[in-house]
């Protein structure tokens, strides 16, 4: 038996939170404005009314406090799900996340577990002001001890959220905020794939575009557009940034022999470089061109009036695919 419903990504996350709150008394939500208001994106809408102010906790306006107290609650056996209001406001909590949350299990030789989930609405294209459109995933993926995932569909969002909460490790979920209203089918009975695995979303033979989160629909559209040029593009949804499923990405790249990696974050020092290096190690002799990156520029996220020029879109992805084809081996 399966329960399949059509819903937007934000509602899929709400459903996942509700199901985990109901499944385990130890699960708690904490964050700014998540109670009566239901969060600035309404993701926690109705949950406080349903589960009470003690399980859905409106916190003081203090990001380090939200993560630091979540660590303390987790040490005591709870499973806090902390909401950070926007990507750019995670930095006041950066110390607690990287020097405490990420390291607690290891520094106590495995004696203390901190199953904290951090929900981080992230990414651009929402026409907002400064600090509301950033992509800090590389900073967290670079920190050992954290898991970092990004859903791209309602189905993924539902199951990734549930899998993150039950994981004994700290997990940061990057929720692509521009996709909160993206609708899709959610099967609440049959789990989506393992949250920490990549997935081939579209088969192809000529080149691969690998991406995650908000750019997955863009990559799918780019692949569709490429058909006009008789190019068959495979699309890999990376899904998990740490651990990185480099095997699945490399397998696809080895098959199509060309790989483009795309993300909104600046390319310099970003995940694209890491993926390029890993795929080269695994499959360089199978590739017909170097792995190419499509991403943001080495600048602070620009004012939203310019974000359309900053963010990768279908054309930038296809340009990279063209560039990949322009390489000729052995010439």
């Amino acid at each position: 038996m399966s329960a399949i419903k059509e819903m937007p990504m934000a509602k899929a996350i709400t459903a996942a939170l509700r199901d985990e709150l109901a499944a385990d008394q130890r699960t708690l939500l904490i964050g700014e404005d998540i109670g009566a208001l239901g969060g600035v994106f309404r993701v926690t809408d109705g949950l406080q009314a349903e589960f009470g102010t003690h399980r859905v906790i409106d916190s003081p306006l203090a990001e380090s406090g939200i993560i630091g107290t979540s660590i303390g609650m987790a040490m005591r056996g709870y499973r806090p799900v902390a909401e950070i209001q926007f990507d750019g406001f995670v930095f006041p909590a950066f110390n607690q996340i990287t020097s405490q949350l990420a390291k607690m299990h290891s520094r106590t030789d495995g004696k203390v577990k901190v199953p904290v989930t951090i929900r981080l609405p992230y990414g651009g294209h929402v026409g907002s002001v400064e600090h509301h459109s950033e992509s800090p995933e590389a900073l967290f993926a670079h920190t050992a001890g954290l898991r970092v995932v990004a859903p791209s569909s309602p189905q993924d969002a539902y199951w990734m959220t549930r899998q993150a909460i039950v994981s004994d490790d700290p997990v940061i979920i990057l929720e692509p905020k521009r996709r909160y209203w993206l609708k899709g089918k959610v099967d609440t009975e049959n789990p989506a794939p393992d949250a920490f695995r990549a997935q081939v979303l579209r088969e192809g033979t000529d080149a691969t575009i690998a991406t995650y989160g908000p750019l997955v629909p863009v990559a799918l559209a780019a692949a569709e557009a490429a058909r006009a040029d008789q190019r068959s593009i495979e699309v890999v949804d990376i899904r998990s940034i740490s651990p990185l499923d480099d095997e699945t990405i490399a397998r696809s790249a080895a098959k199509t022999q060309r790989l483009v990696v795309a993300h909104e974050a600046p390319t310099f020092g970003g995940m694209g470089g890491e993926i390029a290096a890993r795929v080269a190690e695994r499959a360089h002799h199978r590739l017909l061109a170097p792995v190419l990156r499509v991403g943001g520029f080495h600048m602070p996220y620009p004012p939203a009036s310019q974000e359309h020029r900053y963010l990768p879109d279908i054309d930038r992805m296809l340009e990279a695919v063209d560039r990949s084809f322009s390489y000729q081996r052995g010439v």
């Binding site: 008394q25 130890r26 708690l28 003690h54 399980r55 906790i57 916190s59 003081p60 203090a62 380090s64 406090g65 993560i67 630091g68 107290t69 979540s70 660590i71 303390g72 609650m73 987790a74 040490m75 005591r76 056996g77 709870y78 806090p80 006041p92 110390n95 607690q96 020097s99 405490q100 299990h105 290891s106 520094r107 106590t108 030789d109 495995g110 004696k111 203390v112 577990k113 199953p115 050992a144 001890g145 898991r147 994981s167 004994d168 490790d169 920490f196 740490s242 651990p243 990185l244 499923d245 480099d246 095997e247």
Partner: protein, 374 residues
């Protein structure tokens, strides 16, 4: 603002209507134990300092001079109260039954931590200043959660309060502010224990705060008490009174324990560069152990034989500790790989396997050379 003091530096006990009764309730045995823990810690400290000088420890942070503040406070707690220490709470750790070699693992750099926090209700040391004050608040939120939902069966919740230790320097960290906001807003069962030892490495307390640190509590809407941290009896009485009030549901409290670090900040610094001899001498005159010993002696609560017995015990502790510290086994890096995550992580496993292969390669070469087969 004069700190609460019961025992003057000359060893005379003053009458005090509020705090005196807490001392009157202590048995002779309990009074002697306070002395014993202070003396043991001082000996441990001296031994650790000498181990560091001999290159056996990477670093040591002496608590010399802060014995009364720590022992008086921890003795006032129940063993079910969770303590979140910084990195200098050696006397409190000893009191909670943590063995010297467990305490020194961090400083010998064999492991990041040496004890199981749940076994002693004493968290591991924290080196990032003030981070633990938020973990303490979260733990206290967990106590409230247990009380409301009964979701985790525990001892009676009123048997648990949380102690967050901080130094005077660390009070400037933003996390202390956020922790106090949480504690106050949710009326958490928390005791903030500030050891004002007058220095944050080379920077005096006045650079952290122009007024007494105790006054900060008021700004958050809770009570703070300033106590003479070199007076073990006052430290005990104040902590007993405040912790009882916290247990009764009156919300967070704060103690500013005015004491002095007589040693270096750590074995890595040179206090003569930033503080005067006169200052040190002044505080040596207020030595917490000498002061308490002279009172025990004058009241007949302890006799010469008792002091000699503690001396002998301290000596044993030091020599046992030297042996056990030198015998500490370093953690294997394999174990570090295995504890980065609770659950398997592809990249960690791959790197662990790579290191194994890489090192196995060397092992083969060495065997070959030694065997002389090539």
């Amino acid at each position: 603002m004069q700190p609460i003091q019961l025992l003057a530096p000359d060893g005379k006990l003053a009458e005090n209507e509020v705090y005196g009764p807490y001392i009157a309730k202590l048995s002779g045995e309990e009074l002697r134990e306070l002395y014993r823990y202070m003396a043991m810690e001082r000996r441990l400290d001296a031994e650790a300092t000498s181990l560091q000088r001999q290159g056996q420890l990477a670093l040591w942070a002496p608590a010399l001079g802060q014995e009364a503040a720590q022992v008086g406070t921890i003795a006032a707690l129940k063993s079910s109260d969770m303590v979140f220490p910084t990195y200098r709470e050696h006397a409190m750790a000893l009191y909670r039954g943590i063995a010297p070699e467990e305490l020194l693992t961090t400083f010998r750099a064999t492991r990041h931590s040496g004890w199981d926090p749940r076994q002693h209700n004493f968290q591991v040391y924290t080196l990032v200043l003030a981070a633990q004050t938020l973990h303490a608040a979260g733990w206290a939120m967990g106590i409230q959660q247990d009380q409301r939902t009964g979701s985790i069966p525990r001892d009676r919740a009123e048997d648990e309060i949380v102690v967050a230790c901080i130094g005077d320097g660390a009070t400037s960290q933003g996390d202390v502010h956020e922790s106090m906001v949480f504690a106050s807003s949710y009326e958490l069962p928390m005791l903030y224990f500030i050891q004002n030892n007058h220095w944050a490495i080379s920077v005096p307390t006045r650079t952290q705060s122009r007024g007494p640190l105790v006054n900060r509590a008021q700004g958050y809407g809770f009570e703070g008490v300033r106590v003479d941290g070199n007076d073990v009896l006052a430290s005990y009485a104040v902590a007993t009174k405040l912790s009882a009030e916290i247990r009764a549901g009156k919300g967070p409290k704060l103690i500013e324990s005015v004491t002095y670090r007589m040693g270096a900040h750590t074995t890595a610094d040179d206090p003569t560069k930033y503080r005067s001899n006169e200052e040190l001498e002044l505080w040596e005159g207020r030595d917490p152990i000498r002061r308490y010993r002279s009172w025990l002696d004058s009241t007949g609560e302890a006799d010469q034989a008792y002091f000699e017995q503690v001396d002998a015990e301290s000596k044993d502790l030091a020599s046992d500790m030297r042996k056990s510290v030198l015998a500490l086994e370093p953690i294997d890096i394999e174990r570090v790989f295995d504890t980065v995550y609770s659950e398997p992580h592809r990249q960690v496993e791959a790197e662990k396997a790579w290191l194994k292969d890489y090192e196995a390669g060397f092992a083969e070469e060495t065997t070959t050379e030694a065997g002389g087969t090539r």
